[in-house]
Symmetry: C2
Subunit: 478 residues, 2 copies
């Protein structure tokens, strides 16, 4: 057992922070609630960015950059928006040695300033759709923070689109939701439920919020991404109008959608164990680390030469930048193994004098510790296959965990008992009222995480007995 | 002539803004001095990022992310640093609905917070060097702003490294300077002078600042990038110490270096003309645009089919994402040509019924308007060659402009006369004193842009007649 990591069973929250510290993923910044993302953590973010950015561009989106500082009055132009974000704003009151005439807020999200610009750029239906995304930092002053999951500043992407019709805006909202879902399931091996948020949980200013929700190993829910159909709310607030095909002036329909560095926390809590970080191969910045082991100088040269051969074989089939040789000479092999285990590297390849003699290398999986001696000639075929198998097994394991901790209940009594005793996702009928939702949250801390996009299955609200078209998913959330 | 662009000869500043507006590169943000980088402009930034990021990683650097908000007290820990940056700070005084105990500054640059973290991460010589870069936004409250060149918020990369010895820090500083120089010359086709800054012009807190300086078409100088050897100044201020190889505690030596979205302004002013933006092929997000021309529907299908063939031929040799077909049907060909001219696309390929009949396409260069009919079979070879030739010619032209406007003067009288009549770079002897430098700036607005890394060529200071080891380069700068 890793001495620098508290076991999950002992203290889950401390385990989470220990895994981050041991893997050198992030650190607390001097300003309370803010974080520093260290190179190992940032490399994961770069992998996330690379895949998502490509998928956004393949679906016609372009990147742009909107300003960090927003006039405070902008936030007030959409009633729900100001109510939702006002308590979390960081405000610049002085700049260039003077008090500002109007305070500026550090963007908590950019719908307002984007709306202001779109009003200037959009004149005719020919200018639509506008499909823009930006990668940036945002600030939301949070009371209780936790590295990656909830920090006062975080990195994210925020997409902002404008369309001629509500149908097109809805289509865009769902297209992005599907990009998020497949990205998280296929690349991060993190299964998610996709669907609608209840009105209580929707984005301040949205018509409808869709989300993807994942189950962490402690059975709590993590909102991993959201996609909002904003209707004409921001178009109205910022007067984003256009001449339509009949030469009539109309308001556009907008959407916004985002995922953030929170995903790194979700990735960690989906796969890691009591020895530290476990990264699924497709999202791992380094997929394979080759660790040479030797005692004498003679051994060193033979072993290093063989390690280089292993590297070049793997570089034929994998991204060469994702295969690393650990060339450190001032650390014992056990310490080097430990280092790479805690960095979550999917496969470790040990090369010692005996391996060289056999013309093979010992391949060790990070997740289940399976070891196999693989001949040099077979590495280029077997290692990529092993990485893909590991990717699939990590996903299957996470799906199994979620299945084992998803419960259907038929009464509020059962709801409370299951939640208290087992936690997890609870599928229950609900009458659709915010009051019932609020009561359940007040009494159990569980919220409606998602109204799944599933077949109707009529039933009765567990609290009021009123009719319900389908079950919704409740859970205690991060 | 483009009606939406003021000619350079008439009003250079207005020309600059008109080119940006016509090319849809950027827009003024609602907050004074800030900008919105539109997709066309941001795509150029992404090209800059892609190449530089690869070169940083090839030289062992990793990306990370440090926080936006810095305790105000940090800025005060390094005497020159606070003096240099205090007048430009934006300050957050309220957050989460409350007045903060200590105001937070929005980072103008990150040496202080990086220093604070490095002090916690670095313990032994084994932890060195630390080679970290970050891509982020910074805020410096500027009085006179101009899109890209000087904005209150801008995007940049800032590298921060820590080393065991001064020699290693100096080596790093110069390695990065060389990366900047070759990037700007090879990719941006923008020739630069590389060398030292005078003490007056160096970064607040640096031991030595190196820079790359380019000449714009109006003969003014643009500081395009800087690389600072910070010595032990920030190590002392933030107590970044380590146990050295003799087990003695010592301070590290640090460097920092950056280039920003200002480069987009430099790129624009190096190559563009009175019709708008001109992009060198290697930095152009789209290198080739294929414009189909037809009148009837029969023509349309033949022409579009041929255009697709042209596209697939080019996609064999070029990045397929950099070859675009203009499929718009609601714009006249002339308007479409005009659109792509103003976006600076290096090559336009016109495909009309006559071209299809000949089995060829008309290739038009953006820079000099040269036209050539190239057979379909030859496109895959000739277009990439043409792009490379164009890249080289744009660079040569910029080098020639600089040569034509670089003057050697032997007296202060001559200095003033040449500067007033011709502008440009003036190579003159200087005694090394800040007082003389200040007097020249006061009287002529020219500053020392760079002390070139050249052979000694002793002479006499043009102002005092005192000995000077070599000429320095003066210019009026952006």
């Amino acid at each position: 057992m890793a001495k620098n990591i508290t076991p999950r069973a002992e203290n889950y929250s401390q385990w989470y922070l220990d895994v981050i510290a041991a893997g050198q993923l992030a650190d607390h910044a001097p300003v309370k609630g803010c974080m520093v993302i260290r190179p190992t953590g940032y490399a994961i973010w770069e992998e996330i960015q690379k895949t998502l950015d490509r998928r956004f561009k393949e679906t016609g989106h372009q990147n742009a950059y909107f300003p960090l500082l927003i006039p405070e009055s902008f936030i007030h132009k959409e009633a729900e928006h100001v109510e939702g974000f006002s308590p979390e704003l960081a405000v610049v009151t002085h700049a260039g040695g003077k008090k500002l005439e109007e305070p500026l807020v550090v963007r908590p999200t950019s719908e307002t300033v984007v709306g202001h610009m779109y009003a200037q750029w959009i004149h005719s239906y020919r200018d639509l759709p506008v499909l823009i995304n930006q990668w940036c930092n945002v600030v939301r002053w949070e009371m209780r923070t936790r590295l990656f999951l909830r920090t006062s500043e975080f990195l994210w992407q925020e997409g902002h689109t404008a369309h001629e019709t509500e149908a097109e805006a809805e289509e865009e909202t769902l297209r992005i939701l599907e990009i998020y879902r497949t990205f998280m399931e296929q690349q991060m091996a993190m299964p998610v439920l996709a669907g609608l948020k209840s009105d209580t949980e929707k984005f301040p200013g949205a018509l409808r919020t869709y989300c993807v929700e994942a189950m962490m190993q402690d059975k709590r829910a993590l909102q991993a991404g959201t996609s909002h159909n904003l209707g004409q709310n921001f178009a109205r607030a910022f007067d984003i109008n256009f001449l339509d095909r009949e030469n009539k002036r109309r308001l556009v329909h907008t959407t916004s959608w985002g995922v953030s560095t929170r995903l790194i926390g979700g990735l960690l809590m989906t796969h890691s164990d009591d020895d530290g970080l476990v990264l699924p191969p497709r999202i791992a910045p380094i997929q394979v680390v080759i660790v040479p082991i030797y005692k004498s100088q003679t051994e060193q040269s033979t072993v290093m030469e063989f390690a280089d051969q292993v590297h070049s074989r793997l570089a034929e089939k994998l991204d060469p930048l994702k295969v690393k040789i650990d060339r450190r000479t001032d650390m014992r092999p056990a310490d080097r193994f430990f280092h790479w285990i805690q960095q979550g590297i999917p496969l470790r390849i040990e090369v010692g004098p005996k391996d060289v003699a056999k013309g093979a290398a010992m391949v060790v999986r990070r997740d289940n510790r399976d070891k196999a001696s693989i001949a040099l000639e077979a590495l280029a075929d077997e290692v990529p296959a092993l990485l893909e198998r590991m990717q699939g097994e990590l996903f299957d394991r996470a799906v199994a965990l979620r299945a084992a901790h998803t419960h259907r209940v038929e009464s509020y009594e059962e709801f409370k008992a299951v939640l208290a005793e087992q936690g997890g996702f609870i599928e229950a009928h609900w009458n659709g009222s915010p009051e019932v939702e609020a009561r359940i949250k007040e009494e159990t801390k569980a919220t409606i995480r998602v109204v799944p996009d599933s077949e109707d299955e009529p039933g009765k609200c567990i609290v009021t007995g009123e009719p319900s078209p389908r079950r919704v998913v409740f859970a205690v959330a991060y």
